[in-house]
Symmetry: C2
Subunit: 257 residues, 2 copies
């Protein structure tokens, strides 16, 4: 707890936890960039307009341009007298319709939305069609026909477990370790020609989920043999994995602490 | 077949059948309205820019502002030399991204996209939340908590069969008969707090699917007793049915001839 004396009033600095849902279509990703529309930028502006405070809003991680979130956790510190559980309503009044704060509560000062993450689940939505379909295109990526669902599913089991994911990360990633654990992965047919890939892990490298999606899609399209998948992962060779799938299909579903 | 003599060339008038997918969000519905963005207006402009011909595009029916279509059939007549099966590509080049022609083919001159309809299937998508959720809001309507899925399903069976749907039509409807047959109706949970109502019938009155959706939603929300449903339908009393559900959740899925 931080106590500040301001105009003779003792203010108690609170750490606020929020869950955010957003449609990433119109944003250059999470991270603040001067002059560009970003999720972080919109939230920090909304906090300022609500509380008068210039704060940093820390999320569970950065998302790329065009990526969506169903429930992205974040935190920030504030002296506001607005009740923590009501803050989300005040923030929503200052946010565009495609970004909504779902809830807000006070958390311990030691909580950190990024460093304390235990598990993340992403979904990747795609549809199979040789031409773009506007009804699906807000939150789903298009892939070309043909797509063999059963063949794609054969690739899944190789992804489970702790691996060095060097070959499934964007070249511009710079982290101390590229070892991550995937706890669960599934591919379901949600409707005719529509699919959802769900991946749960303790963390993901930059672009890792989109490269996993691109690799499983390439398997279903016939350009990667599902029998080679374990070897492709073990090789650490980015060129052997599939393409980075389009951002539009990706959504951060859930983060656990 | 109509033969026209133009500049000394014998032109064969062809009737073209197309299937259209559109996201209705940015349109004032199907029907042409001077100065407003409508699906019909965009298509007739695209045909003109493709063929130089001012034609009427006839769809399987009108849709309201904000309503979507996965595959809406339509027809128009043309003298163009573009091969019928290639026409959809040419039209797409002149259409906005949220309207796509999925395919095109020549059909018999006697075919009519509206008068020959045998069966239509609509889906109504909604999610349960006390605040708007941007990830779903392009194609799904929001309804307030609580929603009892099992209770809502109990209302479905009363809708099956041939009934006078006078109480399930907008007051401004003027048709010779309000008798229609509903062949199939189902309500499925598509994800956590997300539902899809599917209704198939030989035809629907103005706003009828949205009033059916509003009635089933009201049943799940507890304001209508599912045991009263048969009587509510038989009463022909618009005030006993539910509200007209929002346009955003409605999508024309399939039309059979």
């Amino acid at each position: 707890m931080t106590f500040l004396l301001k105009y003779g009033i003792i203010l108690v600095m609170k750490r606020i936890f929020i869950l955010i849902q957003f449609l990433g279509t119109n944003y250059c990703g999470w991270q603040y960039q001067n002059g560009l529309k970003t999720i972080e930028g919109e939230l920090e502006r909304a906090v300022f307009e609500t509380t008068g405070e210039e704060v940093a809003v820390h999320s569970s991680g950065r998302t790329d341009a065009g990526v969506h979130a169903l429930a992205m956790p974040a935190h920030f510190d504030t002296n506001t007298r607005i009740l923590p559980q009501n803050l989300y309503k005040a923030l929503n009044a200052h946010l565009p319709q495609d970004i909504r704060v779902l809830c807000s509560k006070e958390v311990d000062q030691n909580f950190h939305a990024r460093f304390d993450v235990k598990e993340k689940t992403y979904e990747y939505h795609f549809y199979v069609s040789n031409s773009p379909l506007p009804y699906y295109s807000a939150t789903s990526a298009r892939i070309a026909e043909p797509f063999d669902f059963e063949r794609a599913k054969m690739a899944l089991s190789a992804f489970i477990g702790t691996h060095d994911w060097k070959g499934f990360a964007s070249a511009r990633v710079e982290v101390s370790s590229t070892v991550r654990t995937i706890k669960d992965i599934s591919l379901t047919k949600t409707a005719e020609n529509q699919y959802c890939l769900s991946v749960t892990g303790d963390g993901f490298l930059y672009n890792m989920v989109r490269i996993i999606a691109g690799t499983i899609i390439a398997t279903g399209q016939g350009t990667i043999d599902p029998k080679d998948m374990a070897e492709i992962i073990a090789s650490g060779d980015r060129t052997r994995a599939g393409k980075t799938a389009q951002a539009v299909g990706l959504v951060l579903k859930e983060v656990k602490y």
